[in-house]
């Protein structure tokens, strides 16, 4: 009698457990009737700037041109207003090639490939690759390579200064690269050459540049063709060598590229009457927000739910900053898609150097097509900021981190391009607006 119940308990567990597992799949009865789901109110609200923002500011100087990893070549490009003198944009690309290879793999007379460390460098060839979409040119363009003769810094050099670091400022002997010596030139015609241009470097110059202690070595790429702006993706120098193990053969080896940068003139002035994002060094637009927690409109919303109506983060299904594009300087107008991001400025008091919060528009950012900025511009673009508005209404992020009511519009990478995007500022009909899609439930169920 004592053992029986326990046997029963043991044997009973198996079917119970089996049934438990078998019955674990739950499915709710679901029907589509207004009885069960009364639904809610969805409304689109567009707030003028004065209802959600207090101030806009534009800061420049983020990053360096050398961080772009490429270069620009321009001459008398986009003359006009908006921060550029009447003469237009002048830009040259500066290159510095480094140590030559110490050996090359060479096929000897017996057909065996062997390393050869005794190389004789005969001549060189600069191979430049351009961005055919981002470059602006009316047709074939002659590009000239000149040798730099003054010491310069591949990171800090700009139009005026060969070296422009914190404690060392050295002017070019003449702006734009100092005294130069002609190397050669070539015509780039995208229609026939694709994206590449080749300029030959003579043996004397190759021998001179073998001295890596010479801080004056470098290449200055420019054009004299007015109205041209070329975007250089990369530049390499191929060296023609004569190997010792097979003197009947010429071998091309690649020199290191130590620096790729560009310098340009003029530097755009701070905008007056517009907002600016992008450029190299980059510009940022900073906006101080004051997102309202109550609404007094629109009328159809007030009619249904009553006003003033309190809104919380959960009510915001979508929020986006609406910006009106502005046609500013053609010299820096986008010729290719720019991508921008919106991030919180975590310590606004120390702007322009405040740390920023994480990006809110994803890795790709918001893509802005170049035609949006062509005169007369005035196109409305949206930068989603749902997360920001929700966080501000909540008072903290979903992870409990602090939030800031100051946000920055900036390019996804800084610098992204010499080009920048311009928008109408907070004064005038094109002022930024906040578009929100709000949802309110009127209660559901019985």
């Amino acid at each position: 009698m004592i053992e029986g119940p326990n046997r029963a308990g043991r044997s009973g567990l198996a079917p119970i457990a089996a049934l438990l597992l078998a019955a674990c799949q739950e499915s709710l009865p679901t029907a589509a009737t207004d009885d069960l789901v009364r639904g809610g109110v969805a409304v689109e609200v567009i707030l003028p700037f004065e209802d959600f923002g207090t101030r806009t500011r534009v800061f420049g100087g983020y990053g360096r041109a050398s961080e772009l990893g490429g270069g620009f070549i321009a001459h008398a490009f986009g003359p006009g207003t908006g921060g550029v003198d009447e003469e237009g944009l002048e830009a040259v690309t500066l290159l510095r090639f480094g140590r030559y290879p110490g050996f090359a793999s060479v096929t000897d007379t017996t057909g065996t490939t062997r390393p050869d460390s005794s190389l004789t460098f005969l001549s060189g060839r600069i191979a430049a690759r351009f961005d055919t979409l981002a470059s602006v040119l009316p047709g074939p363009v002659e590009v000239t390579a000149r040798a730099i003769t003054e010491p310069w810094d591949g990171v800090s050099a700009n139009w005026e200064y060969a070296i422009d670091t914190l404690d060392n400022h050295v002017l070019w002997s003449q702006p734009g690269g100092g005294v130069l010596e002609e190397i050669g030139s070539a015509v780039w015609d995208p229609a026939t050459d694709g994206d590449s241009l080749h300029i030959t470097v003579d043996s004397a110059r190759v021998a001179l540049w073998a001295d890596t202690l010479n801080l004056a070595r470098g290449v200055h790429l420019s054009t004299d063709h007015p109205g041209v702006r070329l975007q250089l993706r990369s530049a390499l120098m191929w060296l023609e060598t004569l190997p010792s193990i097979n003197p009947d053969t010429l071998v091309e080896v690649l020199a290191d590229t130590e620096a790729t940068s560009f310098i340009y003139d003029p530097i755009p002035r701070a905008p007056d009457g517009s907002l600016r994002v992008g450029g190299a060094p980059a510009w940022r637009t900073v906006i101080d927000l004051d997102i309202p927690s109550t609404l007094n409109g629109p009328p159809d919303l007030c009619e249904v739910l009553g006003c003033p109506l309190e809104i919380t983060d959960t009510h915001v299904s979508y929020a986006a900053l609406q910006l009106t594009t502005h046609a500013e300087s053609p010299a820096f107008a986008p010729s290719d898609t720019l991508t921008i991001d919106l991030r919180m400025v975590m310590v606004p008091d120390i702007l322009p150097k405040s740390p920023l919060g994480p990006g809110t528009t994803g890795l790709a950012g918001i893509a802005l097509a170049p035609q949006l900025f062509r005169p007369p511009a005035g196109q409305v673009v949206e930068v989603p900021m749902t997360t920001v508005v929700r966080d501000l209404l909540r008072g903290e992020t979903t992870d409990g981190d602090p939030v800031s009511s100051t946000v920055a519009l900036l390019s996804t990478f800084e610098p992204l391009s010499i080009e920048y995007a311009s928008f109408e500022d907070a004064v005038g009909p094109g002022a930024p607006r906040l578009r929100m899609i709000l949802n309110f439930s009127r209660g559901s169920g019985g």
């Binding site: 004592i2 326990n6 308990g9 679901t30 069960l36 749902t386 019985g446």
Partner: protein
């Protein structure tokens, strides 16, 4: 032998710890407090019994004196999978769920001739979902949206009681209980991303409530004759409160629960055949706190059944059971009353039984039932499995 009991105790404990498994799924759960959950075991289900008036060793939450027959520490637990379909104004669908309507523990105090009882049983349940496709206008653009409202949860009752034997043929019992449980409500509006883009998020609104309140019940059982077993109980409840689980400033709700009167009787027709009947009377029309038209006028529930010992050995028996039950549900779908009826068939496996006292048992019941409350009709198949052990 004590070391062999824990698996069952563990199972019982698990079932008690995870009351979320309790779920009656019906659109009748959409009104007010939802659909009642019968706090009954498989034996009672099979007999169409409403949880009172059955003789023998048992822990029955709605029959406070029934535990007086417990001679050894006893644990019983029930499990109830349900498969249903519905027709709501022409819409049809199915539902499936499993619930654990009853967990009971009895511990006899021989020196006082009584038994302490602890039970956790279902009370009301609200598990259903509604969906609706709509068009909303946003900035002059018609945007398709999908609204979904889902509710999960319900109330249960945790009771502590005492059953006192007064002689061989009479016993009294009383229990004090507290309403527990939670209700989660989720509303989600999804906007068509083809129209508004992927950046637009769904709107979600969630609320979570907890139930509270107290209940007291008292009852008797009597065997006025060797062939007759009687039981009766009355249950009084304070207000059942529904408060936000997270303080949001939202006011709570309070519902009065009407007095519940119940009774049952079992008669022995022969050595192998018993008949039983039971009723519950509860007038919800006097209850306060509900919106107009929510409470049903139906008041009386009843059921009856037959139990026949198919096989009877010295220490084992296998009873076959048949029953019918008609339950008045407190809340109709709209403004009409709601009734649940079911026919049931069951089999008991009394693995150890000595002189009519069960020490180890498994009971199975299968029900085929319907619920009607125009324009809603629901059909269901429901199985109930109960397992019990009574051992020193």
């Amino acid at each position: 032998m004590g070391h062999r009991i824990p698996p069952l105790v563990l199972l019982a404990t698990l079932l008690a710890v995870f009351p979320s498994g309790a779920g009656a799924q019906s659109f009748l759960g959409y009104r007010a407090l939802g659909l009642p959950v019968g706090a009954v075991e498989a034996r009672a289900v099979a007999l169409g019994n409403l949880g009172i008036g059955l003789p023998g060793v048992q822990i029955n939450a709605s029959d406070p004196a029934s535990a007086a027959g417990v001679l050894f520490p006893t644990v019983s637990v029930s499990m109830q999978p349900t498969w249903g379909d519905f027709n709501l104004d022409g819409q049809t669908g199915t539902a499936r769920t499993t619930r654990f309507p009853m967990l009971g523990i009895g511990y006899p105090v021989l020196s006082a001739d009584g038994t302490i009882t602890v039970s956790l049983s279902g009370h009301m349940e609200q598990r259903w979902a509604g969906e609706r496709d709509r068009i909303v206008n946003l900035g002059g653009i018609d945007v398709p949206v999908n609204d979904r409202f889902e509710t999960n949860g319900g109330s249960s009752v945790a009771r502590v009681g005492w059953a006192q034997r007064l002689g061989d043929r009479f016993a009294l019992g009383a229990s004090l209980g507290t309403y527990i449980g939670r209700l989660d409500e989720d509303f989600e509006r999804t906007l068509d991303s083809l129209v508004v883009g992927n950046d637009v998020r769904s709107y979600e609104e969630n609320s979570s409530w907890r139930y509270g309140g107290y209940t007291f019940s008292a009852g008797f059982m009597a065997d006025p004759h060797d062939l007759i077993h009687l039981a009766g109980a009355v249950e009084w409840s304070g207000d059942l409160t529904q408060k936000p689980r997270v303080a949001t400033g939202e006011p709570g709700l309070s519902y009065s629960i009407p007095l519940r009167l119940s009774g049952g009787a079992t008669g022995r027709l022969s050595q192998r055949l018993h008949i039983n009947t039971s009723f519950v009377y509860q007038d919800w029309s006097v209850a306060q706190g509900f919106e107009d038209g929510v409470v049903s006028d139906e008041k009386l529930s009843y059921g009856a059944g037959l139990e026949m010992q198919l096989i009877r050995r010295e220490t084992r028996s296998f009873p076959l059971r048949l029953g019918y039950r008609r339950s008045a549900l407190p809340f109709g779908y709209r403004d009409q009353g709601a009734i649940e009826t079911s026919w049931s068939l069951g089999l008991g496996v009394n693995l150890v039984e000595v002189e009519g006292v069960r020490f180890g048992w498994m009971d199975f019941a299968a029900e085929r039932g319907t619920r009607m409350s125009a324009p809603l009709s629901e059909n269901f198949w429901r199985a109930t499995i109960s397992l019990g052990i009574s051992s020193s």
